[in-house]
């Protein structure tokens, strides 16, 4: 069952001097219950515009969008009762209030009665590991703790859909890993998640489905496994202790890219599966050490779909 669905969704803005700017065009996608959709794309691709339309913060100029069965234009209040927004970064909370005061305020805005608000606030503070610091001002929190308060705020209304905008941006690795564990728990409990991120590792770790977006249009979408299988990017073979002679043999294999490093380290990208077998045979015969083969990941998928605008020479 589709929890989030858009049909030819579009949004244009009028810039200065009446110039029309297209932020989103013809976006059609579907996200089912309990799925995690990763929305990947460069800055200015249209990710935030799409998120804002789905959260009712922005009206589309064409097409339709429904969240939990409700149209985002005609029934925004119904949509808002069913969604939670998790923002990344330090902004979005009242830093001079404590975690508990922040949550109590937003619980009131959600329309929860005092008793329910207190129960949910206590429960979320406990569940997200914030109970011990509940009485401290948010401005004294680490980035990871601030993100947990963001998540707690988003969960106050027990949402069916969570929309996360770069939630682990700036977090240290431990905090990010802990945050991802929480998202997995929510996903397993049936919450639908739309995740906007630049972190390919995070997207690969969390997302069941992916949509790659650029210039306001979806360039590729589907199940993460399918997209990874479809990508024609090469495997990467790395090894150390490779004798110079063996490295030269590898460089002579047709269509193979070889990079040499210190201590006999080599990185090889064979053109195809047959060449990969030959590369491995050469390395084993040369008694190379720490031989490893890495399958193409989301980074390769991303780079094969989204054009590089920043470093094209």
């Amino acid at each position: 069952m589709a929890v989030v669905e858009t049909d030819r969704l579009g949004r244009t803005f009028t810039a200065r001097r009446g110039r029309r700017v297209t932020a989103l065009e013809g976006v059609t996608l579907t996200v089912g219950r309990g799925e995690v959709l990763g929305l990947l794309g460069p800055n200015g691709a249209g990710k935030t515009t799409l998120s804002r339309i789905l959260t009712t913060l922005l009206l589309p100029t064409s097409g339709t969008a429904r969240v939990a069965g409700h149209d985002v234009v005609r029934r925004p209040r119904e949509v808002r009762r069913r969604i939670g927004l998790v923002l990344g970064g330090d902004r979005g909370l009242y830093g001079r209030l404590t975690a508990r005061q922040n949550l109590s305020y937003w619980a009131a805005l959600q329309g929860l009665d005092a008793r329910t608000a207190a129960r949910r606030t206590d429960g979320l503070l406990e569940r997200l590991g914030l109970a011990a610091r509940a009485g401290d001002r948010v401005e004294t929190f680490s980035r990871g703790m601030v993100q947990r308060v963001h998540l707690a705020r988003a969960l106050l209304g027990d949402p069916e859909v969570l929309i996360m905008d770069e939630p682990t941006n700036g977090m240290d690795p431990h905090s990010a890993a802990g945050f991802r564990t929480l998202v997995r728990e929510l996903r397993d409990a049936g919450t639908t998640v739309l995740l906007t991120t630049h972190d390919m590792h995070e997207a690969q770790a969390l997302c069941s489905h992916l949509a790659l977006i650029d210039h306001g249009t979806i360039l590729r979408q589907g199940a993460a496994d399918t997209l990874l299988a479809e990508v024609s990017a090469r495997r990467t073979v790395t090894a150390t202790g490779v004798p110079a002679g063996a490295a030269e043999v590898l460089a002579g294999l047709p269509g193979t890219e070889v990079e040499r490093g210190p201590g006999g380290a080599v990185t090889v990208r064979p053109a195809d599966a047959e060449t990969l077998t030959r590369v491995l045979a050469v390395l084993v015969e040369a008694r190379a050490e720490e031989i490893s083969v890495a399958a193409p990941g989301l980074t390769e998928v991303y780079r094969s779909v989204i054009e590089d605008r920043e470093f094209v020479v």
Binding site: R11, F13, R52, T55, T56, L57, L58, L59, R77, R80, R81, I83, L85, L87, G89, R91, G92, L93, Y94, G95, R96, L97, Q101, S104, Y105, W106, A107, A108, L109, Q110, G111, A117, R137, R153
Partner: protein
């Protein structure tokens, strides 16, 4: 909405800089009272105290309460606030009202400064009426803050005019010179200005000359209600403009 009022009170209590206006304006009363004593005009002490109170209330609204929405934009809290099912506007009104209400104790403050600091004969003949009028006037001032906060977001460059929103209105309200000495067209505008009515009614209540105050209080309440409605409509328009993309979510 109690949560919104409590939250705003805590926010302001933890931001002492926001209370600066309330601390500074009563200092004016020191200057005013000194001048009164020097010129042997002690009988005007209560009027001067009420003037200092109303100036304090108004400037607190213009410079602090009116910043509530823009502060939410700057701190990124507007975005999640708008996602709540339709109560943000009410919460904003309560928060602006709470901020403005923090100016009410200034009335007692200036009266005490006059009496204890200068030994002046400040007195309130009808304290009940005075409190009612002060509360209604504060509500009108809060409505003004709502209106200003909306206009500052809708109109680019409006912030530059913020400083100009004090003395012209003090004049219009008869806080600096009596309304009777203003030019006729300005007097006509002043007749529709709630602060002018509130100020005169406060002075009369303090002097014990507010006979038949009922209709005047009703007129003040009506002017405040119109002002409040206007403030809420402008702010609702601002929040609607965010959805259409005319107003940015972040400042």
């Amino acid at each position: 909405m109690i949560a919104a009022a409590r939250m705003q009170a805590v926010l302001i209590a933890r931001s002492p800089d926001l209370l600066a206006t309330l601390a500074v304006i009563p200092l004016y009363s020191l200057v005013f009272f000194t001048a009164l004593v020097h010129h042997h005009r002690e009988s005007a002490a209560t009027t001067v105290a009420l003037t200092a109170f109303l100036m304090s209330l108004w400037s607190h609204a213009v410079f602090v309460a009116a910043e509530t929405v823009d502060t939410d934009r700057r701190e990124g809290t507007l975005e999640p606030s708008l996602l709540t099912p339709g109560r943000y506007l009410a919460a904003l009104a309560v928060r602006v009202g709470t901020t403005t209400a923090l100016g009410l104790p200034v009335l007692a403050e200036v009266l005490l400064i006059g009496r204890l600091g200068f030994g002046l004969p400040v007195r309130i003949a009808e304290p009940g009426l005075c409190l009612l009028v002060a509360a209604l006037t504060a509500l009108g001032v809060a409505a003004t803050a709502l209106l200003i906060s909306g206009v500052m977001i809708l109109v680019r460059g409006a912030r530059a005019l913020q400083n100009a929103l004090t003395y012209p209105f003090y004049l219009l309200a008869g806080l600096i010179v009596p309304i009777g000495v203003l030019p006729a067209p300005v007097r006509a505008v002043a007749r529709c200005f709630f602060l002018a009515h509130g100020a005169q009614l406060l002075r009369d209540a303090a002097a014990g000359t507010a006979d038949g105050a009922g209709p005047r209080v009703a007129l003040l309440a009506a002017l405040v209600a119109v002002h409040l409605l206007l403030g809420l409509l402008v702010l609702r328009r601002v929040l609607a403009s965010v959805r259409t993309g005319e107003v940015a979510l972040h400042a």
